[in-house]
């Protein structure tokens, strides 16, 4: 079945995906209970109308400039480049956005859409709390009620972000079912949505979920790649040789990759979390070590057992600790347009320290996975080649994790 769909779609250029029903090759689609079909169709229609509406775009651009703080800089990490002795490394500084990560680009876009659609209440799922904070932030900004679902396990690990969301006026609901982590929070948010569809807008935080979410979230995040493309041309006069970004659900990666899809000389690397090592099974790398299946409204690569049950993932970085991945990444992998690799917790931590000490920039542990792959890739390239790494978030939120791993109590 997968092969048939693959051949049928082989002709569609990557930039024209998804198709009308949300498919990226055999991936994506809309696998939800019937009650959600009508609201998803309503959302798709609204999104397609407003994405072309100059007033909507002007308001989105204005908020990105004045509320988020865009454009984010493209920073030439000269000392680190020299240290690695290969390609020139450029960091796309999404960590400098309001709330400290790329997540806010998407939540601003979806909140503006919610407002246009007359929805008064927003809900969101969160793992580490970054998307929850970004959702609570826009809810405060637009005066909307906000409910954030978070696994009970994650609430304990991320107490600071929970408090942050509460300060912003959001209600944080602990999810006690299943593995009590991000995937269960997503299940619970879906259950809330199916119950309150009439007045509620569900802000999904990544490029996964049923159509139109993967396309819509990508479009809101594609500002990252559009800026980066213009910035690198301005700074170096040529396109980069490679793009590198971490992949959990994959929104920061697709945001960077998408505007470069037709630049066939630009290589793309999505970096998954190998956790304690792919061979241990304790990881969060569905593209590298999983297989296709259906979860959370879309067909994509999943971490699952031989019976099709979703299995628990592990990563030192809570934001990558998810058993699925956006369907567009699944298709980019199968097509060979992007490569997907994985780095371990230890490699990510090493990169976290390296960037902090070498450039005075403390990266999020998620972004540290992308940096760890740069550690391997840059030395294989020459000094006149260049790489763009998406520094998707700042590391302040992770200092307790890092300290605990090193046996330091703060």
């Amino acid at each position: 079945m997968v092969m048939q769909a693959k051949q049928a779609n082989k002709v569609a250029p990557l930039t024209e995906l998804p198709d009308a029903r949300g498919h990226f090759g055999p991936y994506g689609g809309r696998f939800v209970a019937e009650t959600l079909m009508e609201p998803l169709e309503e959302l798709r229609e609204a999104y397609e109308r407003y994405v072309k509406d100059p007033d909507f775009q002007a308001e989105f651009d204005s908020d990105l400039a004045h509320f988020v703080g865009r454009p984010s800089p493209l920073y030439h990490a000269k000392r680190w480049s020299n240290e690695l002795g290969g390609a020139q490394i450029y960091l796309k500084r999404e960590d400098l956005n309001h709330t400290g990560a790329h997540k806010i680009n998407n939540t601003v876009g979806q909140a503006l859409l919610a407002q246009r659609m007359g929805k008064k209440r927003i809900i969101a799922e969160t793992g580490a709390g970054q998307h929850g904070v970004a959702s609570a932030t826009v809810a405060a900004r637009f005066g909307m009620e906000c409910v954030v679902y978070m696994g009970a396990e994650d609430i304990q690990r991320q107490a600071v972000n929970v408090f942050r969301m509460r300060l912003l006026g959001a209600q944080v609901i602990a999810v006690e079912s299943g593995s009590r982590t991000l995937k269960d929070a997503l299940n619970e948010a879906m259950r809330d949505w199916v119950t309150n569809v009439d007045d509620t807008f569900y802000i999904i935080g990544t490029v996964a979920g049923p159509h139109p979410y993967p396309a819509m979230v990508r479009d809101f995040q594609a500002i990252i790649g559009r800026e980066a493309r213009a910035q690198i041309l301005e700074q170096t006069g040529r396109l980069p040789d490679a793009l590198i970004a971490c992949v959990g659900g994959g929104s920061n990666a697709i945001g960077l990759f998408h505007p470069f899809l037709e630049d066939s000389d630009v290589a793309m690397y999505g970096v998954e979390a190998a956790g304690r090592g792919l061979e241990t099974g304790q990881h969060a790398a569905p593209l590298c070590a999983g297989r296709p299946g259906v979860l959370h409204g879309n067909r994509t690569y999943l971490m699952e057992d031989q019976d099709g049950q979703i299995i628990e993932t592990h990563s030192v970085s809570a934001g990558l600790d998810y058993p699925g991945v956006g369907p567009e990444h699944a298709w980019l992998k199968d097509c060979g347009r992007a490569s997907y690799v994985a780095v371990t917790d230890d490699q990510a931590l090493e990169a976290f320290h390296a960037l902090t000490r070498t450039e005075g920039i403390m990266p999020a542990l998620e972004s540290s996975h992308a940096l760890a792959y740069v550690n391997q890739l840059a030395p294989t390239l020459s000094k006149d080649q260049s790489l763009i790494v998406n520094l998707s978030g700042r590391g302040d939120k992770d200092i307790n994790t890092v300290a605990a791993l090193e046996g330091i109590s703060l």
């Binding site: 079945m1 029903r21 689609g29 809309r30 696998f31 939800v32 209970a33 019937e34 009650t35 079909m37 009508e38 609201p39 079912s177 299943g178 995937k183 269960d184 299940n187 879906m190 259950r191 199916v194 119950t195 569809v197 009439d198 296709p292 299946g293 259906v294 979860l295 959370h296 409204g297 067909r299 999943l302 699952e304 031989q306 019976d307 099709g308 049950q309 979703i310 299995i311």
Partner: protein, 282 residues
Amino acid sequence: MSRIAARFQVLREQGRSALIPYITAGDPQPAITVPLLHALVEAGADLLELGVPFSDPMADGPVIQAACERALKHHVSLRHVLDMVRTFRETDAETPVVLMGYLNPIEVMGYEEFAAAAEAAGVDGLLTVDLPPEEARELVDALKAHHVDPIFLSAPNSDDKRIRFMADFAAGFLYYVSFKGVTGANRLDVQSVRDKVARIRANTSLPVGVGFGIRDAETAARIAEFSDAVVVGSALVSRIAELADRPDEIVAIAPQIIAEMRAAMDAVAAAAPDRKAAVDQQ
């Protein structure tokens, strides 16, 4: 004619509505499931809905989520569930069995392999909660080739066009989800369900079953007045949950709620002997 169609035809001739209990296979332990299915038939079930446990039951409320977790502690897989149906069939060749669950375990087994195995085990229908008709063509073809009826869910916000669309794919019966929400919630409004069922009947000749939120005999009887089937899940599963640490008693005690519902539904049928005619006219 499929076992499901045959059963509905008989019920229609008798002027009765079907009672369909739902249990999650393997809850609270695998050894209970087959004896419990037989006991439910004994208590008055006309069809059986057997849930395939899934790690991420997004459309289910807390009661069935917990049932899935109890079953998954015993690693109950789709293959085990098919074995249970095969065992059930050794002593009951009549009562239709519908599997209910989520797509991923079937996707992993493969559509063709699943459909063939389901037919061989004696499964009569499949209801896949997270598979709307738009994505269902390939699975529906496999099921129909193996004489397994694809059952689809319709919802309060499914318009006439969608109902006709899903009816084109469906066989056996059409399941109407009585409210916007998850299984087991307390949101049922009988009058709005009655109105919607009438609209569904205007768009399909398939029998219409109603489920979600039917928790007691009185409600079951009221829904039975105008539907072809009453599906009872969370109310039964919560009885099982209460007895989870006394599994020996489950088979004797849990089906009582089904017997109560059966009695209340039959009283309605007896009080309105023209029900069959009324249903046929709709």
